[in-house]
């Protein structure tokens, strides 16, 4: 909990002004120090403070059900609108799995597989790192046909420039690491799938992790 300071005023000898050292004031000091020592002085929050001060810290509960908490520290000198700097905590994660079965698409524009995703909704505006892994994927259309995975993020549609691809015809694992700036709170990051021709086959687990860089 936050500490409520006492503003001490000296006695001027008249007994009309001055702050007495009372038990209540003394115990407030003691509890404030003890809280700082145990860690409880830095609060859990589910929304960021409206009027932060430089250096302020919070533990932001990013996903209450899954125990994801981010330690954030406010840096007023950050040149962006996202002045809460991420200094620790687990990433948000989403996994979809089809076991040993393939899910397929013949779409030449980015689309969902029958089991959509993985996808993650960011809780705060800001810059984020995304990591994606797929167990294996391929295109069974023969030489020259590719299977693609790209990523919708917020208002930005899945883009060729950000895709991963496999045109070998063999099942191979795939992974992608991306950093996106200026996402909006509640933006969705979602994997999308396409082919250049033939049929794209996507097997097993597809997993996504998102970690903030700075938020606000």
């Amino acid at each position: 909990m936050s500490y409520t300071k006492t503003t001490w005023v000296d006695d001027d000898g008249s007994y009309l002004v001055g702050t007495r050292f009372t038990a209540a004031r003394g115990n407030n000091i003691e509890q404030g120090i003890a809280d700082a020592h145990s860690g409880v002085a830095i609060p859990f929050v589910t929304t960021l403070p409206a009027s932060p001060v430089d250096g302020q810290q919070v533990f932001f509960v990013a996903d209450a059900n899954n125990g994801v908490v981010w330690q954030l520290k406010y840096r007023a000198a950050d040149p962006s609108a996202y002045k809460w700097q991420y200094v620790g905590g687990a990433g948000l994660r989403n996994v979809v799995s089809t076991g040993n079965s393939d899910e397929t698409t013949t779409s030449t524009t980015y689309t969902n597989l029958p089991t959509a995703g993985p996808s993650i909704t960011v809780p705060l505006a800001g810059d984020y790192d995304m990591e994606f892994d797929v167990e294996s994927f391929r295109n069974d259309g023969g030489a020259g046909t590719d299977a693609y995975i790209a990523f919708q993020h917020g208002a930005s549609a899945a883009a060729t420039a950000e895709r991963i691809s496999n045109g070998s015809g063999q099942l191979v694992p795939g992974s992608a690491h991306r950093r996106w700036t200026s996402l909006v709170a509640s933006d969705v990051i979602q994997a999308k799938y396409a082919v250049s021709g033939g049929t794209g086959r996507f097997r097993g687990q597809r997993t996504m992790k998102v970690t903030p860089v700075r938020v606000g």
Partner: protein, 201 residues
């Protein structure tokens, strides 16, 4: 070190002495220096909401996790991971996965020991060389040989990195095992395995 409070009571001892004020000053100075949250090797028995500890997960290798207790967490694992490096194991040597059709360890296990139960992120890296015509995959298993993660790999020689989140993992040894669908020449090399908590208890 932990701060010991004085309980102040009106018109009662102790007096406001230099010693008392210096104790308060030292408490504030310690808090500013950041050295007030303790290192522990077991979690506090009676934690309170917001309490923090630095848990020594692997003293030999300097792995310390910053944990904060969140009473509102809906699981048994209320110590939320805030920071610190993963537990890690590695093996650069190429190892045979010589038995086809069965999950198997390599001659040298790739394993870490989880000091606490909870939810974890597991990361694996390896250079996979399947037998001709077969596929080669890996998975993470607990000490009872129960699979904790899905399988990752394929039919082609490749360098593979994978991360998975597993909930409700018991404390103890977890290891990477391998499955070759056919042939006896499959190998894995340049292996790395790490485990980072999400929440523990």
């Amino acid at each position: 070190m932990a701060y010991t409070k004085t309980l102040w009571v009106e018109d009662s001892l102790p007096d406001v002495t230099a010693a008392q004020l210096n104790r308060i000053e030292q408490g504030i100075a310690d808090a500013h220096a950041g050295g007030t949250i303790p290192f522990v090797t077991s979690l506090p028995i009676s934690p309170f909401d917001g309490q923090e500890v630095y848990f020594v997960a692997d003293a030999t290798n300097g792995v310390v996790w910053h944990l904060k207790y969140r009473n509102a967490d809906p699981t048994f694992y209320r110590w939320q991971y805030i920071g610190g490096p993963p537990l890690a194991a590695s093996d650069a040597t190429t190892r045979a996965v010589a038995t086809a059709g069965a999950w198997q360890d390599t001659a040298v296990s790739l394993a870490v020991t989880l000091p606490l139960a909870g939810d974890y992120d597991f990361g694996t890296d390896a250079h996979f060389v399947p037998s001709s015509g077969g596929y080669l995959v890996s998975g993470v298993f607990n000490a009872a040989n129960a699979a904790l993660t899905g399988q990752y790999g394929g039919y082609t020689e490749t360098d593979l990195h994978n991360e998975m989140r597993v909930t409700g993992v018991a404390a103890g040894v977890v290891k990477v095992k391998y499955y070759s669908s056919g042939g006896t020449t499959a190998t894995v090399g340049q292996r790395k395995f790490d485990a980072t908590p999400v929440r523990v208890g």
